[in-house]
Amino acid sequence: MKLRNWLVAAAAAVVAMPLAAVSASAYELTIPSMDYRTGPYAPNGIPFANGWTDYWTMLNERDGGINGVKIKVVPCETAYNTKQGVECYEKTKKEGSGALVYQPLSTGITYQLIPKASVDNIPIHSMGYGRTSAANGKIFKWVFNFPATYWSQASALVKYIGDKEGGMGKLKGKKITLVYHNSAYGKEPIRTLEELSKKHGFKFTALAVDHPGQEQKATWLKIRRDKPDWILMWGWGVMNQVAIKEAASIRFPMDHFIGVWWSGSENDVKPAGAAAKGYLSGAFHQPGKNFQVHRDILKHLYDAGKAPHPDFKDRVGEVLYNRGLVAALWGSEAVRAAMKIHNTKEITGAMMRDGYEALDVDAARLKELGAEGLTIPVKITCANHEGPRKVAVQQWDGKAWKIVSDFYDPDMDVIQPLIDEDSAKFAKENNITPRDCK
């Protein structure tokens, strides 16, 4: 019977599960890496995961870890799928000495993990995504979403538009259209933009594109008819590439088309080729590899043959790679802060949370870390888990992304009430008493 072979394999696989959990030796800083290198969003997941993994690994190779403690990066493939994400979380949270922080990398998985975080005492850093109202540290003790949320970003992008139009007063009567991925993620900016349109008097329209976004001709026909002055895009995956191509085809001026910072990577503009030149997107860090930290990564990992994914050498420095790298950089600083606060080298998830809350990476510290000017200074407080709230705009010049604007502050008059309202609702539904942050 041919089936016997299969049955043996199946039995072995099931037996393997409990054994998998067994691995306890010396203390290591356990950093799970929720990768998605497969599935429809893999092209975006790969560079981010590389940046995140490379930085931690580089710390091991260059410095022998953090304060002498080795780091263990535990990758787990989620395929950007919520259910697999939950499996990954449960599998890795007790790994080694216990996971220290989760970077869930998907709105769906973040929402799953938020309630778990406070029970398992492991902080979540949903960097610029996930639940916006988690910015309120009084209620979301375990969740961090610095350096800026989608709502802040939407507001900052509108400010950029105002700048280009010659002042916020000029926005009156202008038409701004949002093209968004029909999902929780895509809907995030809608309420903010509606509020802003009331305040500044621009005409706001939202057009949804369904997953995956392979075919969006009708949406762009509508845009061609309505002739908006500016287009904002909250897109993801193949939707970005198709949208940029369609925009080019209807001859929409690319420098009036701004994507969210998940719609502004090399992958998104490449298929459109030269036609994408001038396209804009949000950003909170620089692209490129002209930083000491990149040189270190190339030297200690890729050239030394120690890179976890060596075939991606020439993609070091891509936008999403740098984003993963910046996330890891802040994470490592949180580790240091946690070690300092608790005066121990064997920190736990709870201590890591304190580290995140005490995070203060200013320009000088960035320089020490070999990342001068790579990103904005970050300072987290008990009440504010969103940190600096600064967003710049970057532009594709046909060959590379370049930051082309100042960093904008969002319009907190509009956003703060929304955050307060949403987080208060969450607190009420879940019987959470807000912390007193003095």
Partner: protein, 323 residues
Amino acid sequence: MLFFMETVISGLLAGIMYSLVALGFVLIFKASGVFNFSQGVMALFAALTLVGLLSGTVPFTHVDNPSFAIPAWAAIPLTIIVMIIVAILIERFILRHLVNQEHIILFMAMVGLSYVFEGAGDIIWGSDVKVIDLGLPHGAWDWLLDTHGLYIEKIELVAAAAAVVLVVVLAAFFQKTRIGRALRAVADDHQAALSVGISLRYIWIIVWSVAGIVALVTGVVWGAKSGIQFSLSLIALKALPVLILGGFESIPGAIVGGLIIGVGEKLAEVFGGEVIVAIFGRWFEIDPGIFTATENWFAYVLALIFLLFRPQGLFGEKIIERV
């Protein structure tokens, strides 16, 4: 009015893109009664293979080595050969063992096959977005846009031309060649075909190879729009409503079904919200934006409504039940 025309034309052209995918399904269903759900992933796999050859990607390493790059005139036939080998493997390892199984079993095997293709594509060529450069035109047809203000994308005209050429070639193949006639015989009656000495295996390899070539064309044309990446495989879902509308066994059905679906869904997406507001607006306050992102389901609902009147599809044969 110009805008309405533009919408309809875009719909027709998009419909042809759907027809291209549906064509692959129809070919295989006609000859072997297999509902080949993996057609979408086959398109992805074929396009990945072509891009891999063009850019000299070393299989399994995901690293480009420009010195291995093969020019298009050689890469396209090579890809076709790969698809023929794939067809042979499918016949050898799957179809041969599933002869005379129920439709649903074959269908699920095809869904299983699509997982194999997906994994294999990733392992061999990597899961990045790839750009295909066969010199296909981009952007709007400038002359038309400048002189008449009418917006039509060039790539879609290319797709339409490709579809026409494919259909003509296929029709000629079925009508004029010996193998084509044998294929039609098999489609009509497996037993009879066997009894006059047509080898079913041989026939299957041929249709799967032809479907593989159709997949390549589909993959290239769709890939030109979005880059070649995993999402390409999801176009299979766009072809299903076309299939039920046109009938699983009809090539003209695939074309006409595609056109109807294309125009229908574009009109719905563009004007649906306004129509709904116009009708119900006096009773309820409706945001016209609610009727956006309808493209995933509208085609299915449209096909469903058609089906209620013609359960066998537009061009399907009427089913007479006997006891």
